[in-house]
Symmetry: C2
Subunit: 379 residues, 2 copies
């Protein structure tokens, strides 16, 4: 199979590619390094400065084709040409600005998030509809599209009964950042083109991801990006870094914000399951891609307890929430579809947290502690 | 009051301005003439080549301030500066590409519709939140955002009961063109910023508009644009033009597509009602802005019968539907909120159709009959 991975330099994109290195598929990787550029300009750095994709590919010897193209998916001519040349069986689309705080810094970054994400999705889908409508498009969405409604969150779709009549709709969504709003729009856009032109698309509503991608064959030369800062990091990675720096684990507001989390190992597995379950023409499949629900406070508590076992003793500290979001809310999100298709969850436990901490400690001297406390405020 | 009208050259924008000329409000008009440019490049022309806004303003003598700025609302610096200088009490935002067929011509026009509409709304709302958050933003949406669901269409919001719990959501929407999808995204964007920053916004879900704006004081020098072509025209205007050219009234597909229609007189009245009913901070008011539901076939039949009275005899002809849309569907859309606030509908009748036809006949020699049959196909 020819698999085109867009956004292959990122935490998820590179982990996905690295996983597929052991397969016989032909891999075509694309990135424009925009996340690296934005991180640099905001003085945020990953734990480990991993080499560029081209260099990382050279570090790996494999049989199937592996090609890298440095290009911007939000430039129509470029992505159109790549799709025309490759005619991929599957496109996995990670090529988006992934940060809620980044999208709330100022007008420039807000618009850049909206433009980049929508224009990339638009270009990819327009190229597919014109050139290769049978290609399976797999797109990373986010659980954050749903927000925190007072009813159960279903998997993408909702049957609504109203005044004795009924219909099926995309689950009504409202996010708590402009980034999340851009992903809501992405879903609307993909669903529009899927039903108009009979495309085959999968939208994966993913919760915050954590963990390492510990492919035993991979060493540091080919490790994926690991971020922990206030803008590009995700919460569990951040807590672990705070702990190993002997800083209190900072919880925003009450800490009662509940989300669905997923280990990056499972995240990759989910995408592979999606690949094996191609939607029929005109169908948009939506899966909720997470394995466990936690409140932020529970997560902090779990990190605190786990790392105590290796003699790291830290407190949990509540700080003023820089975001505008509900801090006490109902949350019950369905996530059974991927399980039914074979996902075996790697649940979060003490051992796993210690493993991540041990990895991070190897690079302790790289940690920039002043990039952890939240600088971006919604208001 | 200081009223800023964005998109003041258009059918609705100029009609709104012309109505307010008899008030004492200070009027600030903005347009970049992009619709005229797009029409010209696609060889579509209005019934009457009306003068540019500046010239039309000169033709009117009035007491209050009336200023025109030629600028593009999708350019942040320009619209930000205007809002900073004026600090308007109300912004009425018509500054969008309004055509479903235009948005489906090709990749360039599709993206241009999405970009222009979203970027304009984004710039306006970002300027307001930073400079003038108390300003009332009134935005023209479209009934087409709802599509044709199998349940009743409520006014913008829907209370959903699900598994014994309930919550209130934006009514779930899906449109049948990229233009309509861009308006869905507009609504999501406005609702996001309204609830985040306590703005006061009104979104008017308007049905297809028809008719003249017959301000008795206005002569041809200041008349609004009247379009009837396949790309920029609306359906009733198109039928009337076909009839006076002795052409059959062309109905797309079965003609059973039902929509809610509104006379431009009422459309202007609705916006004035919205102005008088400013939402409180953090509230997005949504009204369904139409007065009567018709199927396309009923509309054609009404035109045929009405114009028979003035000895115009035409047939109705079904043509292959160039669009992808449901041709037989349930449709029951609520539209009582504006009525409750005082709207007295000008219902469509024979007299009104004859009046529009008589106006159009004055310019019969301008009519370009080859621009009426649909050239843009969804597939």
């Amino acid at each position: 199979m020819k698999i085109l991975i867009l956004g292959a330099d990122g935490y998820l994109g590179w982990s996905m590619a690295a996983n597929l290195f052991s397969s016989s598929h032909d891999l075509f990787l694309v990135d424009n390094y925009s996340k690296r550029k934005h991180m640099k300009s905001l003085k945020r750095y990953p734990l480990l400065e991993t080499p560029l994709v081209k260099k990382r590919i050279q570090n790996i010897k494999r049989k199937g084709v592996t090609k890298f193209y440095q290009l911007d998916c939000s430039k129509y001519v470029d992505i159109h040409k790549i799709i025309k040349n490759i005619m991929p069986d599957v496109v996995i689309h990670f090529a988006e600005l992934p940060s809620a705080p980044f999208s709330m810094i100022n007008t420039t970054n807000s618009w850049e998030t909206l433009r980049n994400n929508l224009q990339s999705t638009f270009n990819i889908i327009h190229s597919l509809k014109d050139l290769s409508p049978k290609t399976h498009l797999i797109k990373l969405g986010t659980m954050g599209e749903y927000g925190t409604p007072n009813i159960d969150i279903e998997e993408g779709w909702l049957n609504i009964k109203h005044k004795k009549r009924s219909d099926r709709f995309l689950y009504p969504r409202q996010g708590s950042s402009l980034y999340h709003t851009s992903k809501i729009m992405d879903t609307d856009l993909i669903w529009f083109y899927t039903r108009m032109y009979g495309l085959s698309c999968t939208d994966l509503m993913q919760g915050p991801v954590y963990g390492l991608y510990p492919n035993k064959k991979l060493d540091d030369d080919v490790a994926p990006l690991f971020t922990y800062d206030d803008i590009f990091g995700t919460v569990l990675n951040r807590f672990i870094i705070q702990a190993i720096m002997n800083q209190p684990l900072t919880v925003y507001g009450t800490g009662n914000q509940i989300r669905g989390y997923i280990n990056i190992l499972d995240s990759i597995e989910c995408i592979k399951i999606a690949m094996k379950n191609k939607p029929k023409r005109g169908e948009l499949k939506i899966y909720n891609q997470f394995t466990e629900q936690f409140s932020v406070l529970e997560l902090a508590e779990l990190v605190r307890k786990s790392l105590k076992k290796i003699n790291i003793n830290v407190n949990i500290k509540k700080v003023k929430n820089p975001r505008v979001e509900k801090e006490n809310h109902y949350y019950n999100a369905k996530h059974s579809n991927l399980k039914k298709l074979g996902l075996k969850a790697n649940k979060l436990n003490e051992k796993m947290i210690i493993q991540i901490a041990n990895y991070c400690m190897k690079y302790k001297s790289n940690i920039k502690i002043n990039t952890i406390m939240p600088k971006v405020k919604w208001k």
